[in-house]
């Protein structure tokens, strides 16, 4: 049957190419939108995912990591004394205006945590230049390689000003970027200094639980015993942040509707082209029925063609998706598709082409075997 399916596809080259192009276009659009979606959601939760802690404790009204409220520094000790907490790490986030020698200005988000552990942002795995030890020097901050265009091409060692105070880039990271603001990581003291944040205020507390302790149990205990704060597992806080921004920015809706549109368009383009290809071959399918093929056989023959189309369409479509990923990756829109997601693309391809085949199948199944005797 594989041979016959292949011959049928080969015979109607133009339509077959049309079907494959339909599949490629819709799977590429879906892959591209999904990629952008992954990138944006990663950026939305970047502050959380670039921290290394079991729990985040923030102001009780905060549900978005990019807009942290204010906590009193005394909460730090209260949290530390809760059963199951091993360590607490204060975080200070402050806004600032960066000004470069060439006149470029940019709004930046200063994120300070305690040296030398730097539980937020300065993950050695993502550092591509500079030295964490220099972070202790006056004015030392980090900057991301991909933000250099917004920062007047600032690189390692560039001197500039934040809120009128001298700063320099001591560490360069790669792919640690936020949603909207430009991240600059530093020590907690320098974040206070640049942002004029009083010593009594902090923005969040990162918590490590004791080995063997259940993070969600510790979270619940903090929430029960300490007034005015809310503890989250890092995963939940990231999820809440993304959920909040997606619903409030319309990004979720716009990307979601584009994906649905690509699906529907693909489904109908593929379905109608397959239908029209089947109509071109209606005499052959009628003959098949006439000489004794069952509906089951013919359905399998059509589905097999649809399957082969989806293999070809997926192969080409995925190639384009990956070229797109590499292309935008060079411009700093860095993301990866998980194997599960790639499998998902394949299943979507299968779904649209097998689903599209339904139009053709309906038509062929309704064909009378007696049609063979009518010209």
């Amino acid at each position: 049957m594989l041979r016959y399916a292949w011959q049928f596809m080969k015979y109607d080259k133009a339509k077959s190419v049309g079907i494959i192009i339909g599949i490629v276009i819709s799977i590429f659009l879906i892959g591209q939108q999904t990629g952008i979606f992954i990138f944006l959601t990663n950026a939305m939760k970047a502050l959380v995912t670039n921290s290394r802690a079991d729990l985040w404790v923030v102001d009780s009204k905060t549900i978005n990591a990019n807009a942290l409220g204010k906590l009193d520094i005394r909460k730090l000790r209260e949290i530390e004394s809760v059963e199951g907490v091993a360590h607490v790490y204060p975080v200070v986030v402050a806004g600032g205006s960066a000004r470069f020698d060439d006149g470029t200005t940019a709004g930046v988000q200063l994120i300070g945590s305690d040296a030398p552990s730097f539980r937020i942002g300065l993950d050695p795995k993502k550092i591509i230049g500079g030295n964490l030890e220099r972070m202790l020097e006056d004015g030392a901050v980090s900057a991301d390689y991909f933000d250099r265009a917004s920062l007047g091409q600032a690189g390692l060692g560039t001197n500039f000003e934040i809120n009128g105070k001298n700063a320099f880039i001591a560490v360069q990271t790669s792919g640690v970027r936020g949603f909207g603001g430009i991240f600059m990581f530093t020590t907690i003291e320098k974040a206070r200094y640049f942002g004029n944040i009083p010593n009594t205020d902090i923005s969040a507390v990162l918590v490590d639980v004791l080995p063997g302790a259940d993070p969600s149990a510790v979270r619940d205990r903090i929430n029960r015993t300490i007034f005015g704060v809310r503890a989250w597992t890092s995963k939940d806080f990231a999820g809440s942040t993304v959920g909040f921004l997606l619903t409030n920015s319309g990004i979720g809706f716009s990307i979601g509707s584009l994906i649905v549109f690509a699906l529907i368009a693909g489904f109908f383009i593929i379905g109608l082209t397959m239908y029209s290809a089947a109509l071109d071959r209606i005499r052959d399918y009628g003959t098949l029925k006439g000489i004794g093929a069952t509906n089951g056989y013919i359905i399998r023959l059509i589905l097999l063609q649809a399957f082969l189309f989806s293999l070809a369409g997926f192969a080409v479509g995925y190639l384009f998706i990956d070229l797109f990923r590499q292309g935008v990756g060079k411009a700093g829109t860095v993301f990866t598709y998980s194997p599960l997601m790639i499998a998902g693309f394949f299943f979507v391809t299968l779904f649209i082409s097998l689903g599209g085949a339904a139009f053709a199948i309906r038509r062929i199944v309704s064909l009378e075997p007696a049609s063979v005797f009518r010209g």
Binding site: M1, R3, Y4, Q7, F8, K10, Y11, D12, R281, R283, D284, T287, L288, K289, G290, I291, G292, A293, T294, N295, G296, Y297, E368, P369, A370, V372, F373, R374, G375
Partner: protein, 264 residues
């Protein structure tokens, strides 16, 4: 005997002699004695309903096909010939009466079972040849065997044999569009032969062919009957009469008479 030299004089057919086949499976020992009935139409009628009019395509009619015979079904256009053939071919159910193929009553059979009868008991030949355009000659001939689930290796051997039989081995790899009408019909005959079905049903098998090709095709069909198959041929063409053992005349949706013909 069928294979007279009479053909050598008609249309210079002698040139096509090598094509004429021997019997498939049992190298030709023409079977002219016992002639069991393989297909029966017993008081079968067929009505088609279109909108609120009922079209009577065939009034209750009876006929039978015997193995070893060529039965010609002749009649004017619209008289019900194809309907009769479709009933025997198990592509439609009778409105009343019975159709029995090789002992199997078709009324009440599922579409799937009907397909099974068509596949296993009947070889079809059509006016327009009905070869599957995307498939090569060889693949077209192999198709019924594939449908029967016969393993490729065995099927290939059988395909090779029938292609030789209709003298078309040299076109095995050709697509139908690359072949003449006569060649296509020979491939179609090979496809009808390959399952060794006892019944061959042909609807106007020569109408799209020139005289020479028509002769070759008729000779082949006659030869198949000689090998024991029941061959039914629907036609307008009175010139085919000489090939028939039996002629069934259809007029106005009815079998008007059946006559025994003396073969040439």
């Amino acid at each position: 005997m069928y294979r007279t030299d009479a053909w050598d004089e008609v249309d210079g057919i002698g040139a096509f002699r090598p094509f004429l086949s021997t019997c498939y499976n049992n190298p030709c020992e023409p079977l002219r004695t016992a002639m069991p009935v393989i297909a029966e139409v017993i008081q079968a009628s067929k009505e088609f309903i279109s909108g609120d009019t009922v079209i009577v395509a065939l009034k209750p009619s009876s006929m039978e096909l015997s193995m070893g015979k060529v039965t010609l079904i002749i009649g004017p256009s619209g008289s019900g010939k194809t309907t009769l053939l479709s009933l025997i071919g198990c592509v439609i159910y009778p409105t009343s009466g019975e159709v029995i193929i090789d002992g199997i009553r078709t009324s009440g059979l599922s579409a799937r079972k009907m397909a099974g009868i068509r596949l296993n008991k009947i070889g079809f030949i059509f006016q327009q040849f009905n070869l599957l355009a995307p498939l090569t000659a060889e693949q077209n001939v192999m198709l019924p065997l594939t449908l029967q689930g016969i393993p490729d290796a065995e099927a290939k051997g059988r395909v090779r044999k029938v292609l030789e039989q209709v003298n078309m081995s040299h076109r095995a790899k050709s697509l139908p569009k690359m072949m003449s009408g006569g060649e296509q019909q020979r491939i179609a005959i090979a496809r009808a032969l390959v399952t060794d079905a006892p019944v061959m049903l042909c609807d106007e098998p020569t109408a799209s062919l020139d005289t020479q090709s028509a002769h070759i095709v008729m000779e082949e069909l006659k030869n198949q009957a000689a090998c024991g198959k029941a061959v039914a041929i629907v036609t307008h063409d009175m010139r085919l009469k000489p090939y028939a053992d039996e002629i069934v005349y259809v007029e106005n949706g009815q079998i008007s008479k059946t006559e025994i013909n003396e073969p040439i």
